[in-house]
């Protein structure tokens, strides 16, 4: 029997613009992501710094018309920022997973695949937004909107530098607890309304998980509030000069970290959308833009929860200022950059966890929340209260 001639060479793919797996271009990738980061920074400066400062400086906020204009502009900016965050984070996630998994990730569209999400979003826009016959149409359509609005409302509460914020809420901590519960509401409604048993299971899991983890999360936030003596973000951040809260409130930080991963529904807590168990859980029947809304909200939260973590435990915008006046515009630029860099580091850690771990089981998840995190968070609250009293006495 004669030997069959075999090619020992790897198949070579046709060369296309921006796509050549045989020639990795790390420089191009780095440039693309640096540009992304810059774009994000510019948007943050615009939305949190320039527009509110201008309105406050000229006193336009006092008049009803000015307030309405401010609200409208900020809504548009926050929406753009949220979309930008989601667009960037999705492609960063895919690229990062590619790196971890020793593959290239998106390569086709844009430099090193940087515009992949844009085309994904366009594809989702072009797809039929299908509602099953058995779905409760009204609720089915309302749910993604609720989820997205809750993520979007949370963006309002973030201060990125001294005086750079959209709304200075004196109950900021309570506000984020309240609004993030609203997200759980949308997820439960979405799973419940689609007339699909997988969706129902996903809604059950999502509801149970999000409501359970809301409790330790809220107590962890509360311990920060108790320690700082205020529920206002700006004051909490200001008090972290010299010593970040992560040191005295380490217990609360751990609770917040775990609970926020659970709030994000990211591995190892991705049970509500565990694709190998319950297909896609609460978004099984969603397609097109409705699905995109869930997706966008998830990635906006992937930005927001590390953002709050940085504000509460890692000194927010604190960093070396090189002698600049903290209230000046240049210092604001620098401080918002510090904030973004810290957030980026934490997003990276979240993605790292997501890429590494398998997922828990639903009852283990509940056990962890109620038997592990809740006592831990209460201990953290007591530590915070004792430290507060100690500091006041001294």
């Amino acid at each position: 029997m004669s030997r069959m001639p075999l090619s020992t060479e790897r198949r070579v793919y046709p060369r296309r613009v921006g796509y050549d797996p045989t020639r990795p271009r790390p420089g191009l990738e780095r440039t693309a992501y640096a540009l992304f980061f810059t774009a994000l920074w510019v948007m943050v400066v615009l939305a949190y710094g320039v527009v509110p400062s201008v309105f406050r400086h000229y006193g336009w906020m006092k008049t009803p018309l000015g307030f309405a204009a401010f609200a409208a502009i900020e809504a548009v900016l926050a929406f753009l920022l949220a979309s930008l965050v989601a667009l960037i984070l999705i492609v960063v996630l895919r690229k990062y997973l590619g790196k971890v998994q020793e593959r290239v990730g998106p390569m086709h569209y844009g430099p090193a695949g940087a515009f992949q999400t844009v085309f994904d979003a366009l594809k989702l826009l072009a797809k039929e937004d299908f509602a099953p016959k058995r779905a409760d149409w009204l609720i089915f359509r309302l749910a993604p909107a609720i989820v997205f609005v809750s993520a979007f409302l949370l963006m309002v509460a973030i201060p990125v530098a001294p005086g750079w914020l959209i709304a200075d809420l004196d109950v900021g901590l309570l506000y984020i607890v309240a609004v993030s519960t609203l997200g759980a509401y949308g997820v439960v409604l979405g799973g419940l309304s689609q007339g699909n048993k997988w969706g129902l299971l996903g809604a059950f899991r999502a509801g149970a998980q999000l409501v359970s983890y809301e409790v330790p999360l809220a107590i962890a936030l509360l311990s920060v509030g108790v320690f700082a003596g205020s529920l206002r973000f700006t004051e909490i951040v200001e008090q972290q000069y010299g010593l970040w809260n992560v040191v005295p409130l380490f217990l609360s930080f751990v609770v917040y970290l775990v609970a926020s991963i659970a709030e994000l529904k990211s591995t190892p807590f991705d049970l509500p959308e565990a694709e190998s168990e319950i297909i896609a859980g609460y978004n099984t029947e969603y397609s097109g833009m409705s699905f995109a809304f869930f997706f966008l909200a998830e990635f906006v939260e992937l930005f927001l929860l590390p953002g709050f973590m940085v504000l509460l435990f890692f000194g927010g915008w604190h960093g070396p200022l090189f002698g600049l006046d903290p209230q000046s515009f240049a210092a604001g630029l620098l401080q918002s950059l510090y904030f973004l860099v810290k957030v980026a580091v934490w997003i990276w850690i979240f993605l790292w966890i997501r890429a590494t771990l398998p997922r828990f089981r639903d009852d283990q998840l509940m056990d962890l929340a109620w038997k592990g995190l809740l006592p831990l968070s209460l201990a953290g609250l007591m530590v915070a209260a004792l430290l507060r009293i100690f500091l006041e006495v001294v």
């Binding site: 029997m1 030997r3 069959m4 075999l6 020992t8 997973l97 971890v100 998994q101 020793e102 593959r103 048993k197 129902l200 299971l201 059950f204 591995t267 190892p268 991705d270 049970l271 565990a274 694709e275 190998s276 168990e277 319950i278 297909i279 890429a355 590494t356 771990l357 398998p358 997922r359 828990f360 089981r361 639903d362 009852d363 283990q364």
Partner: protein, 376 residues
């Protein structure tokens, strides 16, 4: 879809939800449908339905000559395709009275164990994917690719190589084959600690796997379970030891067993088997005659004498048997393939009922069925 649903709601019982898991479900490894009764997340009833991939090999094979049938056997367990050829070939060789040269025996063993590693890598990746970890999947598929490349160089195909034949192998190995295999083994051994860290030593994995889906020893034997499923229940039954074939009697290896019978034990046994396979291949590489025929003397027209023969081998999933009945003509009277996944899947009602839904996924991936061989 397929016939009436075998679970009907109990009248008046409102806390049970009836759920069709599959045939299009991401974690059923193909096309299994399990009708589940769910009380919350706890499974109260489970009825498996198979046959979605049925193409009646056994009828087709009755209309094919023996040499043509080898191609069909490949298609049963497509994840470890090459291994499926062997029991049929062994049975026909017995009926023909053909001697297999030593070199061919060793080449068979090397290929057989390479495909065991490849198959276990697929199982490891998809099993962890079922448990929610995406990264091991890509690692294992990358390593498996190297095995398939080695196989492609010699056999000309990757998943369904159709390489073994009566009396030996179809053609001699590629000149670089032994060097490639040795290089792969070195590479693979350097990867094993990573897999151990990502899977067996991961606390989250242990939380999901320890004590889940416990299969007692007696039940495993009575249900006809085989392979790692049986060995994880503490039964050291391995066809390679019980009825050795090819060069296995001359090779030293352990049969890893574990007494617990849970999902973790099944993962652990498969993991150890990969290490044992490396050991076997290393010995075979040393002992294989460097020259000599790769195929014994086989008549040009294969007409086994009338009779019947059942032969079994230990493929990645367990005891794969072939029952060949010949009437002395060029066409077999009957060929029965006894596939391990088919028998192992009977355990679904035993293991699922009482487990949580998420456990069911872990249990199913620890049984590691391949539906090409279940449905045949």
């Amino acid at each position: 879809m397929r016939g009436p649903t075998t679970i009907t709601p109990v009248p008046g019982r409102t806390d049970e939800m009836i759920l069709n898991m599959g045939p299009q479900h991401p974690a059923t490894h193909g096309v299994l449908k399990v009708v589940l009764g769910l009380d919350g997340e706890r499974i109260t009833r489970a009825v498996p339905h198979i046959g979605f991939l049925h193409r009646n090999h056994e009828k087709i094979e009755e209309a094919r000559t023996y040499i043509q049938i080898i191609t069909y056997t490949d298609r049963m367990d497509y994840v470890s395709g090459l291994q499926n050829e062997l029991p049929f070939i062994l049975a026909v060789e017995d009926l023909l009275g053909v001697e297999v040269p030593k070199r061919a025996q060793y080449i068979r063993v090397i290929f057989f164990e390479l495909y065991r590693i490849a198959s276990h890598l697929v199982w490891l990746g998809t099993g962890m994917l079922d448990l929610g970890a995406i990264t091991p999947f890509l690692y294992t598929f990358r390593d498996r690719e190297k095995i398939l490349e080695i196989a492609e160089k010699t056999a000309g195909a990757r998943m369904l190589p159709n390489y073994f034949t009566f009396g030996g192998v179809r053609r001699d190995v590629h000149p670089e084959f032994f060097k490639d295999v040795a290089a792969f083994l070195d590479f693979f051994e350097s990867r094993l600690p990573d897999y151990r860290a990502l899977v067996l030593d991961s606390p989250v994995f242990q939380a999901r796997a320890v004590g889940v889906g416990v299969l007692p020893k007696e039940r495993a034997i009575a249900r006809g379970a085989s392979g790692p499923v049986l060995r994880a229940s503490g039964v050291a039954y391995d066809v390679r030891k019980a009825e050795p074939y090819d060069a296995y009697p001359e090779l030293e290896f352990e049969v890893p067993t574990r007494p617990e019978g849970d999902v973790y034990a099944r993962f652990w046994v498969r993991f150890r088997e990969m290490e044992e396979s490396v050991k076997i291949i290393r010995q075979a590489l040393e002992k294989v005659p460097k020259t000599g025929p790769y195929k014994g003397k086989v008549p040009p027209r294969i007409k086994p004498k009338p009779g019947a023969r059942y032969r079994a081998v230990e493929i990645s999933r367990g005891h794969l048997g072939a029952y060949v009945v010949s009437d002395g003509s060029e066409y077999p009277l009957r060929i029965k393939h006894r596939s391990p996944s088919f028998a192992n899947l009977q355990l679904i009602p035993d293991l699922f009922v009482g487990a949580r839904f998420a456990d069911a996924i872990a249990i199913l991936s620890s049984l590691d069925p391949v539906f090409g061989e279940v449905d045949r």
